[in-house]
């Protein structure tokens, strides 16, 4: 029983991170029909921002501020920083190609991904950097359930992720910006004719999606301690899989897809073998594409005649 509960906790921890990254994929796809493969690297930048915030406040062993305040500042700065980065990427890399064939921004996205990854490598070196979370948040503290443990970082991940998902749902469903996003996603040209400032809506979309990835990056650093320039690639692929499985373009789909992939990974690692985790996850992607290409929550595109 303990093993099952701990596996679920492990899976949800990773799943929430995938879900937050997948939301950015799905939002951008929704408004631009673009697979932003640089999104995983925005998550990586968020993790680095969090690392430097810890150093700024004295380093993990000599923090000059209380831990909850530090974590809040890390989330805030990583969110704002990555949000701004996302807006910048859209403005300079994707907007000039908006009317180009769809392959052009896709290739550009891959190029942006490599530029971000290698820029970090050049700037901060190849050494894995460690948050040393255990120095300021005890790994042995937390809630014990039948021998399984949810540590304080995992609790933070669960709570903050749920709050962000709820916040995003409120923005999309109940605000003018959300309505504009849905309008642009539905028909960009018609939205423009109705007076919606499409460029601005797209910028906001990139900002929100990238900010969530940035916060996920900080969570990743806190939970898994080690960060490097390459962590975004695989996380991005997994989140992309989550978005596709959930139904790309669907916000609830990205959330459920992320949790589903995280749990699949954890169960595969615990009960089958860690060797086959990637095989199983990407196998799910292929099966989804074959059986239900629109994903769990996706809807088939209408043919306009």
């Amino acid at each position: 029983m303990h093993e099952l509960i701990q596996t679920i906790i492990n899976g949800l921890t990773t799943g929430f991170l995938y879900a937050l990254i997948a939301l950015g994929y799905t939002m951008v796809y929704g408004v631009l029909k673009l697979l932003n493969f640089a999104h995983g690297d925005v998550y990586m930048i968020g993790a680095y921002i969090g690392y430097f915030v810890i150093q700024w406040f004295g380093g993990p062993q000599h923090l000059s501020i209380p831990v909850p305040l530090l974590v809040a500042i890390m989330f805030l700065i990583a969110g704002l920083g990555c949000g701004a980065l996302g807006v910048g990427i859209e403005r300079f890399a994707y907007r000039p190609l908006r009317d180009a064939p769809r392959i052009a921004p896709l290739i550009t996205a891959l190029g942006v991904s490599f530029i971000l990854e290698n820029s970090v490598l050049l700037l901060f070196g190849g050494f894995t950097k460690s948050y040393n979370t255990e120095s300021f948040i005890s790994p042995t503290a937390g809630i014990h359930i039948d021998g399984a443990v949810i540590d304080p970082v995992q609790i933070t991940i669960f709570v903050v992720s749920l709050l962000m998902m709820w916040g995003l749902t409120v923005i999309v469903d109940r605000t003018t910006l959300g309505k504009s996003m849905r309008a642009v996603a539905s028909d960009r040209e018609a939205a423009e004719m109705l007076g919606i400032k499409v460029d601005r809506v797209i910028s906001y979309t990139f900002f929100i999606g990238s900010a969530m990835a940035g916060v996920a990056g900080v969570m990743s650093g806190l939970a898994f301690n080690q960060i490097s320039a390459t962590i975004g690639f695989l996380a991005g692929l997994k989140a992309f899989t989550a978005a596709v499985v959930g139904g790309i373009g669907s916000i609830p789909g990205a959330m459920i897809g992320g949790l589903f992939i995280g749990l699949c990974e954890a169960f595969a690692s615990t009960y089958i073998s860690t060797k086959y985790t990637d095989l199983i996850v990407f196998g799910i992607l292929i099966v989804t594409m074959l059986v239900r290409p629109t994903g769990i929550f996706g809807r088939p595109a209408l043919q306009k005649v």
Binding site: G125, P139, S228, A229, L234
Partner: protein
């Protein structure tokens, strides 16, 4: 205006991309040239006319870039030190292989078509397997500071291959015997990371444990995973495979940070085990779970009083923390540099064949190399002596050298 903006962005992109790609076949600066001449070397025999190029292959980008960059920095320092000490003018070119056999093959072909007379690296055993026959056909010596798979020197496929580190047939049994003799486990968990290096070590340890009556649970993780995916796998392994009987967990891994992650996951889930890492996990800044052991093929020179060791420590200080891969790479580069100097001293122009012949004659005293043992090669390219070092991590996270027998 828009066009200009696009052009400016494209130019910037090209500039960054060029910078990123510069690791391929780019010329090395003489880093560390301010440091004093290498101890025990002859000097000024050949003058600036002794010109040659050597190459270094390593993973300078990608998931194990920290290993490759460490090797690169130590090799650059060795080139600078030896050039100064021997009066040679050897240039070091670098080729990024990302620890990938296919990329290593491409880079080797490019090295072979250049004027390089010898190579340092590649880092991984799987890469040596791929490029050994190519170097062999070209008659070009290559010396690794980290590829330890025993078959590399026994299968006859790599006639120009040398290594300055012991092979896994030495290290794996040495580690397993130490665990049996000093830690007395009922059962051990051995986890390899699915790479040739890790599997090779696991393969040599397991029979020794079994012969001693120790129960072995052998697991594998995907060593190429990163971040959240890797952490999920490690957490799951700790959850499902780490049993109370398994008081020792062998981690023959290439990434020290992953071993640290495993230790933290065990702490978080209140599971007690003694971690035993191999050379890949030797990194005082990254793997510091108290009570753990780390074996290594190179010594810890950070506190050494040997003048050469002090000089190296000072020379690489600007690059920040380093692990176990730098010192052997310095030694490997030093062997090639000395061979080139000896060729020049004999009045010849360095070529692949005469440098290879000279490397075969290498005999460096322990005081003249940071490895601290005699550097001389058997006919198959292995060292005549087989060094091995063991460290225990103290409660404050410091590595303390302990006897490995």
């Amino acid at each position: 205006m828009k066009v200009r903006l696009i052009l400016a962005a494209a130019a910037l992109t090209a500039l960054v991309a060029a910078g990123c790609g510069s690791s391929s076949s780019s010329s090395s600066s003489s880093s560390g040239s301010s440091s004093a001449a290498a101890a025990g070397s002859s000097s000024g025999s050949s003058g600036k006319s002794c010109k040659a190029t050597i190459a270094i292959e390593g993973p300078f980008t990608g998931p194990v870039a920290q290993v490759g960059l460490e090797q690169l920095h130590f090799a650059q320092l060795a080139v600078a030190d030896d050039n100064k000490a021997n009066g040679t003018n050897v240039n070091l070119v670098q080729d990024d292989t990302q620890l990938t056999p296919s990329l290593a093959t491409q880079k080797t072909q490019s090295i072979l078509s250049s004027g390089a007379v010898a190579a340092v690296g590649p880092a991984g055993s799987q890469e040596v397997e791929a490029v050994g026959p190519l170097f062999g056909r070209a008659g070009m010596a290559f010396i690794t500071g980290s590829a330890t798979l025993p078959a590399l020197t026994t299968d006859g496929k790599n006639p120009t291959f040398f290594r300055v580190v012991p092979n896994d047939n030495i290290q794996g049994p040495q580690d397993a015997n130490y665990v049996i003799k000093h830690l007395h486990p009922k059962a051990v968990l051995v986890i390899d990371d699915d790479e040739a290096y890790s599997q090779g070590l696991a393969k040599t340890m397991i029979p020794i444990f079994q012969k001693a009556g120790v129960k072995v649970d052998h697991e594998t993780i995907n060593g190429t995973d990163t971040g959240a995916t890797l952490a999920n796998a490690i957490n799951s392994l700790v959850t499902s495979k780490l049993n109370p009987d398994e008081t020792v967990t062998m981690l023959p891994w290439q990434a020290a940070a992953n071993a640290q992650q495993f230790g933290l996951a065990a702490q978080q889930q209140h599971k007690k085990t003694i971690l035993f890492g191999t050379d890949g996990t030797n990194s005082p800044s990254q793997f510091k779970i108290p009570g753990s052991y780390v074996s290594n093929f190179g010594p810890d020179i950070s506190q050494s009083s040997n003048p050469l060791d002090k000089q190296i420590v000072a020379g690489v200080a600007k690059y920040g923390p380093y692990g176990s891969f730098g010192v052997p790479t310095y030694a490997a580069t030093d062997v090639e540099m000395r061979a080139i100097a000896a060729v020049c001293k004999s009045g010849q122009t360095p070529s692949r064949s005469n440098v290879l012949a000279q490397i075969k004659k290498t005999n460096i005293a322990p005081s003249g190399t940071p490895m601290g043992v005699t550097i001389a090669f058997k006919s198959n390219g292995d060292l005549t002596g087989q060094p091995g070092y063991l460290f225990k991590i103290s409660s404050s996270g410091k590595y303390q050298t302990i006897p490995n027998t």
